[in-house]
Amino acid sequence: MSLHTEALEGGFASPVLGAQATFRALMDAMARPGTTRTAGSNAAPPHPLGVAQGAVALTLADHDTPVWLSPALANATTKGWIGFHTGAEIVSSSAHARFAFLAAGEPIPDFHGFAAGSQDYPDRSATLVIELPALTGGPTFVARGPGIKDSTQITLQGTPADFLRRWAANRAFSPLGLDIVFTAGSELMALPRSTDLQALGG
C-alpha cells in the first residue's frame, strides 16, 4: 500500500458514533482511574500507532489542539493520518502540544517538557497518550484519589523504572500537571493528575 492511501484509510467507520463511544470509554476511564476500557474497535490507525491511541486522536484532536509525536511516530504516514483525519497541527515543540502520542517501548521524555497549565488555568495542560506492551503484568502500584473507592492496584507493563518518582513530581504542583492515558492495543486506562501512586507496601 502506498504511503498516501495508508494515511487516508483507517478512520472511524462511523465518525460520529465512533467518537462518542471512544469518548465515553475515555470519560469513564478518567472518572475511575485504574479501570480498563476498550476503545476504537472500528478504527485502524497505521502502525505503530495503537488502535485505542488512534481512536483517542480521532475523538479529541482537531485544528485547535497541536499534537506532538514521539520520534517513533513522527513519520510521514502517522503525521499524514493524524493530519488528514483530525486536521490537527503536528508540532515539534512538546511545550506547545495539547496532546502527545508515544509509541510502545519508547523512553518517556521529561514531563517538564510538556505544558502543565497555569495557576489560573490548570486545565491548559497536555494529555499524554502512551502506548504500552500491556496494561497488566508489570510492577504493582497502589492508586488512591478521586474516582477510586479506597484504593486500587494497577500493574502497568513497560513504565520506566523511575515512573513513581516522576509521577510524584508531576503531582507536586497540584492542581497543575499532566494527565496520562495509557493504551495497549484497543484497551486504555487513564491516570489523571489527581491520582496518587505508591509502590505496593510502600
Binding site: P15, V16, L17, A19, Q20, A21, F23, R24, L26, M27, D28, M30, A31, R32, T59, L60, A61, D62, D64, T65, R98, Q119, D120, Y121, P122, D123, S125, T127, G145, P146, G147, I148, K149, S174, P175, D179, P192, R193, S194
Partner: protein, 297 residues
Amino acid sequence: MSTPETDLATYNFAYLDEQTKRMIRRAILKAIAIPGYQVPFASREMPMPYGWGTGGVQVTAAVIGPDDTLKVIDQGADDTTNAVSIRAFFQKVANVAVTTKTREATVIQTRHRIPEEKLTEGQVLVYQVPIPEPLRFLEPRETETRKMHALEEYGLMHVKLYEDIARNGHIATTYAYPVKVEGRYVMDPSPIPKFDNPKMHMSEALQLFGAGREKRIYAIPPHTKVVSLDFEDHPFEVQKFAKPCALCGAHGVYLDEVILDDKGGRMFVCSDTDFCEERREAGHVGELGVANKEAAE
C-alpha cells in the same frame, strides 16, 4: 417514499456539530482530572434561551450515545416544562430512550435537585448551572475570583457564612451551599437545596456541571470528597421537615410546599416525583394521599 437523496437534512446526532462536541469533551476530561475546578469552554447558542439549561444540554449532548437512557428532572419533577422540553429535544435529535425511573437511567440531566434514590456506578448526573462561580456575589471580577481559586483564598466565603450567623444566628444559606471538593477547590453545587449536598460526597455516579451562559464546565468524579463549608461551633446541617410527604408518607426526603386554598391550607409533598410515585404504587399513603387501588383491594 423517501430516499437519502431526497430527505431533508437532519440534525447531527445529539444536535451539536462534531467540532463543538470535541471541544466540550476535552473540557469534560480536564474537569474530571481537576475535581471542582471550572474549565472554560466555548458555549454555543442552543435552540432554547440561556437559563433553560443550555450548559447541561451541551454536556449531555457531548456525552450521550445511542445506547443511553435519559432522564431529565426539573426541581425533582419529570413532568414540568423544562424537563419535558429537554427530554423531547434529545428524543428528537438523538433518538435515545428516555425514562422517568431513576434507576433505569444512564444519563440524568437535572435542574436543582439530586434524585432521592441513591445513584449507582455507570450513571452520569448532569447539572444545569446558572452561576458556576461560588465567589461571584462576593467578588464580581472574574480576574480576581480566578486568582482567589489559584491561591486557594477562600476566606471571603467563610466571612459570608459568618455574617449569616451574626445576622440570623445560623447559616441562612439554604441552596447553592458552597462545598470544598477533595480539599482543594470551593465549588458551587448549582442551586440544589443544601439538603442534597451530602449526596454529592463519595457518590458512586460521575457528576458533571454545565453552565451555558457563563461558559464553564466542572465535575466531581465518583468517590470524591465533597465537604460543605461550616464552622466547628456551627456545623453544616440539612433542612428538616416536621411532617412526612402528604401523598406517600416518606420521611427524610426533600419536600415542596403546595398551596391548597386561600385560607392558609397547604401540604408538603415529595419534590422527587418518580420517588413519590413509586412509593404510592407500592402502597404507601400519606395523610392527604389516596390509597392505591390495587394495593387497597
